[in-house]
């Protein structure tokens, strides 16, 4: 068995930033395990611009953003193993991983940072009739084919789901000479950014059909057309509105799910809403010594926030392993109510030092002229007015240290929306 002080699982932007901050906090015994043949995670296939505006004050592409962090890892000579897939994490922080050359690795860590990102919702989750010929891809798979392997999945495309990956792929396939016939969205609004709707669809006159879904996929060996229909208020298709669209490719962009099989195996309690771990404000999960950050904790739309969160996780993991003994501190739940779907962290530690903290949250619907309220024992601690909040955009609530102190001494904490 090999021993390391801090083991980081996943070498995407979250894992890289966590490693760098753990190093800068003084720890030298750090190891990153990554299952792909390169560091950088999902950013390697996101060749569009729009990354790092907050961090670097310039718009980078995904690979460029990743490289800035890879360079910092290399400058610090932080160790990493590629082509290494972690298959098991135990509650006592023993880890099993498979490496292409060395076979099975057994590693015992003093702290583990899970930064394994998320994966696309499987297509089984999308209930569509019809045969399953080739030509059906998740948007992320298509993105990998085009941008990493240099292959085009098809020529005439329909996209189901208007999440950012689908929108980005509509433009990308258009650039490569395909005809994108429509983006079909079940809901009456898009979970994608306005910027992507404008610059990926409107710029190329690609129709975005709200409150529509795909009801049938035609074609034996290869998709030849899809049938789409409008849906009613209960999201049931109105068959009288059905229309057929000729295409050879259907891309599914129906959302992302944190990849938490490893956490589950280690006995970490998971949130049914975020699908990530429940964490306290040190980003530690219910299992002492296991931390989470990035898309494995909750799905982020901006990588800048992933990097910030991961930096914190790296620092807190170092503080944790440097404690002479681990004293269990009581935690208070932060309840999400009235329009707020979730808040991360879900728990805040009692009587911890006063320090600044940022709550991250998402709402369940589109709300206009509202405010986000943080309340402790009935007293409003913080209130942030918003012209609009949407499910597609993560909100952040930066709290000052005196506000945080009030939360740490409270018995009940709530975060909710109030119309103004």
């Amino acid at each position: 068995m090999k021993n390391v002080r801090i083991l980081i699982i996943g070498g995407g932007p979250a894992g890289l930033a966590a490693a760098i901050s753990a190093y800068d906090k003084g720890e030298r015994d750090i190891l990153i395990l990554e299952r792909e043949d390169k560091l950088g995670g999902i950013l390697n296939q996101c060749i569009h611009n729009g990354f790092g505006l907050h961090t670097f004050k310039e718009e980078l592409t995904g690979p460029e953003y990743a490289q800035r962090f890879i360079d910092q890892v290399n400058e610090r000579q932080i160790k990493y193993l590629l082509n290494t897939t972690v298959i098991r994490v135990e509650e006592n922080l023993e880890v099993k991983a498979l490496n292409e050359e060395e076979g099975l690795l057994n590693i015992k860590a003093e702290a583990i940072i899970l930064s394994c990102g998320c994966r696309e919702r499987p297509r089984g989750g999308v209930n569509i009739a019809g045969s399953r010929g080739s030509g059906i891809y998740s948007a992320g798979t298509a993105q990998k084919l085009v941008n990493i392997d240099g292959l085009m999945p098809g020529k005439e495309v329909v996209i189901l789901g208007s999440g950012d990956i689908g929108l980005i792929m509509a433009r990308r396939m258009t650039f490569e000479g395909a005809k994108v016939k429509a983006v079909v969205e079940l809901l009456p609004y898009s979970s994608g950014l306005n910027r992507n709707i404008v610059q990926c669809l409107n710029d190329f006159d690609i129709p975005l059909m709200f409150s529509h879904t795909v009801v049938d996929i035609k074609g034996e060996d290869r998709v030849t057309s899809v049938v789409i229909a409008e849906v009613d208020d209960h999201l049931n298709p109105k068959m009288e509105t059905a229309q057929e669209i000729k295409c050879d490719t259907l891309l599914l962009s129906v959302g992302l799910l944190p990849e938490n099989e490893l956490a589950k195996g280690a006995g970490v309690s998971l949130s049914r809403i975020t699908r990530g771990a429940y964490v306290d404000d040190n980003l530690m999960t219910s299992v002492p010594g296991i931390f989470e950050c990035g898309n494995v904790l909750h799905v982020h739309d901006l990588v800048d926030f992933v990097s910030l969160e991961a930096k914190e996780a790296g620092e807190k993991a170092v503080e944790y392993i440097n404690e002479s003994e681990h004293i269990k501190i009581d935690r208070i739940e932060i309840k999400a109510e009235d329009g707020v779907r979730y808040v991360v962290p879900e728990f805040i530690l009692k009587n911890n030092d006063a320090s600044e903290m940022t709550l991250k949250m998402r709402v369940g619907n589109v709300y206009r002229k509202t405010k986000i309220v943080v309340e402790a024992d009935g007293e409003v601690i913080h209130s942030k007015p918003k012209q609009i909040v949407t499910p597609g955009e993560m909100e952040t609530i930066p709290l000052k240290s005196d506000e945080v102190l009030k939360l740490r001494n409270a018995k009940e904490i709530k975060v909710y929306l109030r119309s103004v």
Binding site: E59, Q67, N194, V198
Partner: protein
């Protein structure tokens, strides 16, 4: 009259722009001044960054991702992409390397956005 959605914040105001007089473009529908400026820019000189990829020879990856170093006029997007078709570059390629110089006399280059090392 032209219609746009402002992309500067999630509010996504619907802008209506009257550009019948190029010297006095009128924008309505904005909530803040960023929207007004966006409306004017979109009718007078809309620009976009273009990102795509180019074939690499003898590299560890078959393609390298590229971008326009700065935003180029929106009307030139497809013409600029034409320039990349059939282009093949030798590995190694590094971030910032010029892949195509002076796109359609704009003075702007396509540059690589990924490192691709030689395969052997």
């Amino acid at each position: 009259m032209k219609e746009f959605i402002c992309i500067n914040c999630p509010l996504g105001c619907h802008l209506v722009v009257d550009d019948s007089d190029k010297n006095n473009v009128k924008v309505t529908g904005y909530t803040c001044l960023r929207g007004k400026q966006y409306g004017i820019d979109e009718v007078l000189h809309p620009k976009r960054m273009v990102t795509s990829s180019v074939i690499v020879l003898n590299g560890k990856m078959p393609v390298v991702s590229v971008k326009t170093k700065e935003a180029i006029p929106k009307g030139l997007i497809f013409k600029s992409l034409e320039l990349l078709k059939g282009l093949k570059i030798e590995a190694p390629v590094h971030i910032g390397d010029v892949v195509y110089q002076n796109i359609l006399d704009t003075g702007i280059d396509f540059v690589a956005t990924r490192n691709v090392e030689r395969s052997k």
